[in-house]
């Protein structure tokens, strides 16, 4: 078999697993966005506007970016962490003649696909809530790349955290700040320069900035998009390094 194709068994396992939990997964990926859309679209959104835009239109790309983060990260992180630390199922990948880069590729593609599909569901709901969005090919490319970033982050977390509690702390320290500050709910420009610098160091920020700009028809922000791709490469490499480290000690 071609070396590159060796990720397939890992991807296959993730798909078999998801097929068995399809109902739970679908319900899970709908509840979160409905809550967000209700709060910000119907509740808050009717009363405010941002930079002349309807707030629902402004916030929807942010919520999509956030959703790509949550779904991709969670679909890989927790499960892989439990399989590594408690069920030890991860050990069989390590014993098999397969490279860490293939293991990560299989896991990340599965997680990214999961996140991507969840974002589609959210997008459909957004339309139902009356959002106006322009969808282009670039939008979907950025969105999928974002899913790859956060699925890779899920792999990193699953490797770094040696317990369930560690996994929870990782979420609090790394994901939560990004959720609120990564340009999801309000424009980043209005913040003090130091905060702005910090916020732009988070991988979610270029994602929500790019998606918003595309959706609102403000053009394709080249630097932001380069940032998104750069983060995908960085996270993937980091995930491979972490898997290699845990493979032989």
């Amino acid at each position: 078999m071609n070396d590159f194709l060796k990720f397939y068994p890992i991807f296959w396992r993730e798909m078999v697993y998801r097929k068995k939990r399809l109902g739970k997964i679908l319900i899970g990926s709908v509840i979160n966005p409905i809550l967000f859309l209700t709060t910000f679209g119907l509740g808050l959104g009717k009363r405010i506007s941002v930079g002349g835009e309807n707030y629902l239109d402004f916030v929807l790309p942010g919520i999509i970016a956030l959703s790509s983060l949550n779904n991709s990260y969670n679909s890989i992180g927790a499960d892989l962490n439990i399989r590594r630390t408690i069920y030890k199922a991860f050990d069989q990948y390590v014993v098999a003649p397969i490279k860490p880069s293939s293991i990560v590729l299989g896991e990340v593609l599965a997680g990214a696909l999961h996140g991507f599909v969840s974002c589609f569901i959210l997008l459909g709901l957004g339309f139902l809530f009356g959002a106006h969005v322009r969808l282009t090919l670039m939008f979907f490319i950025v969105l999928f790349t974002s899913c790859i970033i956060f699925a890779s982050l899920g792999v990193v977390a699953a490797m770094v955290a040696d317990s369930h509690a560690d996994m929870a702390s990782f979420g609090t320290f790394v994901l939560l700040p990004m959720t609120f500050l990564g340009g999801t709910f309000f424009p980043v420009d209005s913040m003090p320069i130091i905060v702005k610098a910090l916020v732009w160091m988070m991988p979610l920020t270029p994602v929500s900035f790019s998606l918003r700009s595309i959706v609102l028809g403000k053009g394709v922000p080249v630097y932001s998009i380069i940032g998104v791709f750069a983060w995908a490469v960085i996270m993937y490499v980091l995930a491979v390094v972490m898997v290699s480290r845990k493979s032989a000690n």
Binding site: Y8, R13, V16, A89, Q92, V95, A248, N249
Partner: protein, 322 residues
């Protein structure tokens, strides 16, 4: 060596390989076995240090093809660490280990293809069925679809799980999981099977079933190495045993040889709360000694077992440590 192999298994055929080294192939239930060195496992001065602790302290041993080899010792003796180094899950601090001629550090991929591993704790995919677990393993080892299907069928039948092939593994009992793990380890037709404490936590009947499985795999030509802290498991199963204590290898030989070395007959003498053991080559000698004792009321004379060997060699009681 090759002569022995032929004599032992009858049906072997010679198989010339392009690199001009002659290899022997066997066909058996476990699949095809390629051979290219005299010993299938060779370790030399193997050391593993964790921080300040020497978990494995300079051990060297060889295992011949077709042997069942047991690594015996109390918990914490370094058995699992030794196995983990041999199966490429842990990098030796120093020393070398060759598996079928391949170096565990420099050629880990080649080593991985030679070995099947049954760990101490279940590492099956719980949400997948037995069939799916086997399928995943077959795919990981790059087996073709049709080959996978045949092999899964054959192996699940072999371990008696074919009728439960499509149940999720989380519904399995401990013994079923262990059998499935053995079947899974055989999926890619390895030359050597490593089992870490294969019967720990199992009931006596299931234990015997696992022993029968190991013996039957071995009869078909598979080399088996396992760790255990059960004396009777080692006595029952293996051709040779290595006794480990505190990271060191303190004796290697057949159970018979090891017992012979300390004396085949044990005399246990209970005085107050203290039992002293003395070893003799024959029952006559033991009886003679018993006759010479002033107080010979609390005396037990019996054949020596591996536990006696262990106590004799280490001064520790295995059951205390275990």
């Amino acid at each position: 060596m090759e002569q022995n192999q032929l004599k032992d298994r009858g049906t072997s055929v010679f198989w010339p390989i392009k690199n001009k080294s002659r290899r022997v192939m066997h066909r058996g239930r476990a699949g095809i076995i390629l051979e290219n060195t005299k010993y299938i496992i060779e370790t030399k001065n193997l050391v593993k240090v964790f921080g300040k602790i020497k978990a494995v302290d300079d051990i060297s041993f060889e295992i011949a093809r077709g042997e069942i080899f047991a690594l015996l010792g109390p918990n914490g003796a370094g058995k699992t660490t030794t196995i983990r180094m041999l199966i490429t899950l842990s990098r030796p601090t120093s020393g070398t280990a060759l598996i079928n001629g391949y170096d565990v550090v420099r050629q880990p991929f080649e080593v991985k293809k030679q070995i099947g591993v049954v760990p101490q704790q279940s590492n099956l995919e719980r949400e997948l069925t037995a069939w799916e677990n086997m399928e995943l393993t077959g795919m990981l080892y790059g087996m073709k679809k049709e080959d996978r299907r045949k092999r899964i069928q054959e192996l699940l039948e072999y371990v008696g799980l074919l009728d439960r092939a499509h149940s999720n593994v989380e519904e399995y009992s401990g013994g079923m999981k262990r059998r499935l793990m053995i079947a899974r380890a055989l999926m890619h037709r390895p030359r050597i099977l490593f089992l870490d404490e294969p019967t720990v936590g199992l009931d006596p009947q299931t234990r015997r079933k696992i022993w029968d499985l190991i013996k039957s795999m071995n009869r078909s030509g598979m080399t088996v190495m396992f760790t255990t802290h059960y004396m009777e498991e080692a006595e029952n199963l293996c051709n040779r045993v290595a006794i480990m204590n505190r990271g060191k290898l303190i004796a290697v030989g057949t159970p018979h040889e090891l017992k012979q070395n300390i004396g085949r007959i044990v005399l246990e003498h209970l005085e107050g709360d203290v039992t002293t053991r003395r070893f003799f080559q024959s029952r006559m000698e033991a009886l003679k000694y018993a006759g010479s004792l002033k107080d010979n009321t609390n005396i037990n004379i019996r054949p020596a077992n591996l536990e006696d060997v262990f106590v004799m060699l280490t001064g520790d009681d295995l059951s205390d440590l275990g």
